[in-house]
């Protein structure tokens, strides 16, 4: 790379602008890739063809066509709605997702910002989108939306705790909260932490499904009960924001799970000096395996009831996660 380009990126604002542009590009790309995967995979599971015509081959342009359609729609705001809150809610939801990209290590040194409290930051910031959902539900002036928003809030309280507790095991093993630090610790140890943290990984995945409010935990949307929950009154590009945020969030939460439990951008047997280039590919591969599992669950399971979800969180996941922490800590001290 020529010197002046390197120097240019040393400037804080230029670097910030570049990173922002990168994330702004990545989110729609990832959203579309996952959205398309969901369409095609669900079609496969249900003996359908899925998107077929848009773009000529396999309907690859379906998501682009959908996006363009959403932008053409009227931006409808209900008369009774709390206008500013209603307008800003989708931005909140998407913002939480964007901010998560900051701490995902795509390769050695390939991270937007390697915070020393990366894990903590990621878990804290991921609950912002739930506030956005609550705002959307409240401001829509629709009883179904309100119930959806309140269900989302209840779900957040119930599932934030197992989500946090589940990652503690990995943090204890690595001795750091920095995301790239945890990956490096796994490289040093020579094994991904999932080997000793199966329980933590399972709890994390279940809790992140609830965090994403996807089936089997999609009570805030619950199409057959609450019509579309907090999404009922949204149209056009604001609806698209929620849509994108859901898919991008699937990506980021899977990426966090991969980083904490599955060795991040590293695969055993890959020489360390090639990770610079192979890292992002490995990470994407692992993420898409988890995303596939999420899509698979979505099209196989029905949804829980709200009280059953709370039972699952408080009576099962939290005690299991706590026991996992105790066992991990004990083993760490004595072994």
């Amino acid at each position: 790379m020529p010197d002046f380009v390197v120097n240019l990126f040393d400037n804080f604002w230029v670097a910030l602008g570049g990173k922002l542009a990168l994330v702004a590009l990545m989110i729609p790309m990832i959203g579309m890739a996952i959205g398309f995967a969901e369409m095609k995979l669900s079609a496969k599971m249900q003996h359908r063809m899925g998107p077929y015509f848009a773009g000529g081959r396999w309907g690859w342009a379906q998501l682009i066509a959908d996006g363009v359609k959403f932008f053409q729609k009227e931006d409808l705001i209900p008369e009774e709605a709390d206008r500013p809150v209603f307008k800003i809610a989708p931005i909140f939801v998407l913002m939480g997702t964007v901010a998560l990209f900051v701490v995902i290590p795509f390769g050695p040194g390939l991270i937007f910002r390697d915070l020393s409290v990366g894990v903590f930051y990621a878990l804290a910031i991921s609950s912002i989108s739930t506030i956005g959902i609550l705002m959307a539900g409240w401001s829509s002036a629709n009883k179904y939306s309100l119930m959806g928003g309140l269900r989302a809030a209840g779900q957040l309280i119930a599932y934030e705790l197992p989500l946090v507790l589940a990652v503690v095991g990995s943090i204890i093993l690595a001795g750091t909260m920095s995301m790239s630090g945890i990956v490096e610790a796994q490289i040093d140890a020579g094994y991904p932490y999932v080997i000793f943290q199966v329980v933590g990984f399972a709890v994390f995945m279940i809790a992140s499904l609830a965090e994403l409010s996807r089936i089997p935990f999609d009570m805030p949307i619950a199409e057959s009960e609450l019509v579309m929950g907090y999404l009922t009154e949204y149209t056009g590009f604001r609806f698209l924001f929620f849509f994108l945020a859901e898919f991008a969030n699937m990506f980021t939460l899977s990426a966090i799970a991969v980083t904490l439990f599955l060795g991040g951008y590293w695969l055993p047997g890959i020489p360390a000096d090639t990770l610079e280039f192979a890292g992002p590919v490995i990470l994407l591969g692992k993420v898409f395996i988890l995303v596939f599992a999420m899509i698979w669950f979505r099209w196989t399971f029905p949804r829980f009831r709200e009280d059953q979800l709370q039972t699952l969180a408080w009576k099962w996941l939290i005690p299991i996660a706590l026991a996992n922490i105790m066992i991990t800590a004990t083993l760490k001290v004595f072994l």
């Binding site: 669900s42 599971m45 249900q46 003996h47 359908r48 009883k143 119930m147 089936i215 089997p216 999609d218 009570m219 619950a222 199409e223 057959s224 009960e225 609450l226 019509v227 099209w299 196989t300 399971f301 029905p302 949804r303 829980f304 009831r305 709200e306 009280d307 059953q308």
Partner: protein
């Protein structure tokens, strides 16, 4: 005065902080709602997620068939009645034509009766498959829908190949099934019987349906979440079910083995060997489970019927203009949704004097205020779905 208002406000604040009083919300479910099977409207008082004082509001689908049939001739009415419960259109025609035949004292040829029976059981299979498709969807699982609807399509294709219609066959005639000799402007006399290859196709389709039912059973019954969503939810004790006039699979799920196919003689069911599946607890799960087993029984009845179908004419001798002798009768039949009956009053004219339609879904949803009292909002959907009603059948 100002002081008083301030004091009052503070006092009200204080009482709020002592005990959080939350106002109840009136939730209007429907008539446009994804899970009300059409245009049923429910008005509920909800406290958080719990619903009380639930009132079903019906009538959005009222088409006035009872009144309409008073100004139609008997052959015209079959086009009306198969639109009552459109999910099993064929089965609706049977009790009506049987009622007319009873008053006319017609002897329907045995082959026609067997064809009626085969198509009725196929209608039952297709109706229950719609339930198998929609019920998991209401619980949030989208995939069983496609498994069930694919098989239903096979059955509908067969019904179409015989009758020419998928939903509204209009195949029954007073005295038999569609006339054996072509009428109208054509002078050529055409014998219309079952289409070529119907028996082998049906045998194959029934095997496919049985396979699909096994597949659905493993897909749905093997799912832990479905079980916890349906077991013990919406329990309907037999005595309550009977007092509300609930019939069909909903009644049998409560443990009452009452089936009009055994009680009445509207079609030759006594020639066949089949079981009446009965549930134990009368909850949502039993209602699902009874219907699943009924599909198996119906498929077996169809297979027995095509093995034993006798030869012969399709139509009894009837006058050109059908006039039913004065009198009245009530004929009821076991429809997929429950008991369907027609009270036919004739004054000897070419149309009925009065036709009272007793439809299964209307009585079945009368249980809603009782069964939905104090349940959670998600369970409203689960219970309503398990009762398997069709709004056309409710409002007529």
């Amino acid at each position: 005065m100002v002081m008083d208002q301030d004091v009052a406000r503070h006092l009200s604040d204080a009482s709020v902080s002592v005990e959080l009083e939350t106002a109840d919300m009136t939730l209007n479910i429907g008539p446009q709602h994804p899970s009300t099977h059409g245009v049923l409207r429910l008005v509920a008082r909800v406290d958080g997620e719990r619903a009380y004082d639930l009132k079903p509001v019906i009538g959005y689908m009222h088409r006035g068939y009872e009144k309409l049939s008073e100004v139609r001739t008997y052959p015209q009415i079959t086009t009306l009645v198969n639109r009552i419960d459109w999910v099993s259109g064929y089965a609706n025609e049977i009790p009506f034509v049987v009622a007319a035949e009873k008053l006319m004292e017609l002897e329907v040829p045995e082959r026609a009766q067997y064809i009626r029976l085969i198509l009725t059981e196929m209608a039952r299979i297709s109706s229950h498959l719609v339930f198998m498709a929609s019920y998991p969807l209401e619980l949030g699982a989208a995939t069983p829908l496609f498994f069930a609807l694919r098989e239903r399509e096979r059955v509908l294709d067969l019904i179409e190949s015989v009758t020419g219609g998928r939903f509204h066959p209009n195949f029954n005639r007073i005295g038999g099934v569609k006339p054996a000799y072509g009428s109208g402007s054509s002078t050529r006399k055409m014998v219309q019987d079952l289409p070529a290859g119907f028996f082998s196709e049906t045998r194959k389709a029934m095997d496919e349906v049985l396979n699909a039912v096994d597949e659905l059973e493993s897909l749905v019954a093997g799912n832990e979440i479905i079980l916890i969503r349906t077991k013990g939810i919406g329990v309907l004790p037999p005595e309550v079910a009977a007092s509300y006039g609930v019939s069909g699979p909903n009644l049998r799920a409560s443990g009452v083995g009452f089936d009009l196919r055994r009680v009445e003689r509207y079609l030759p069911y006594e020639d066949f060997d089949f079981e009446i599946p009965v549930g134990e607890n009368g909850d949502c799960w039993d209602r699902w489970w009874v219907r699943l087993r009924e599909i198996r029984q119906s498929a077996s009845i169809v297979q027995q019927a095509i093995d034993g179908i006798p030869a012969g004419p399709l139509q009894a001798k009837v006058p050109k203009v059908i006039k039913v002798p004065a009198g009245e009768t009530y004929v009821r039949a076991e429809n997929p949704k429950g008991e369907m009956g027609y009270y036919l009053v004739s004054d000897g004219a070419s149309g009925p004097y009065r036709l009272k339609i007793r439809s299964a879904s209307f009585s079945n949803i009368s249980i809603l205020p009782w069964i939905l009292e104090g349940v959670l909002v998600p369970d409203i959907i689960a219970i309503m779905g398990s009762l398997d009603f069709v709004l056309g059948d409710v409002d007529r």
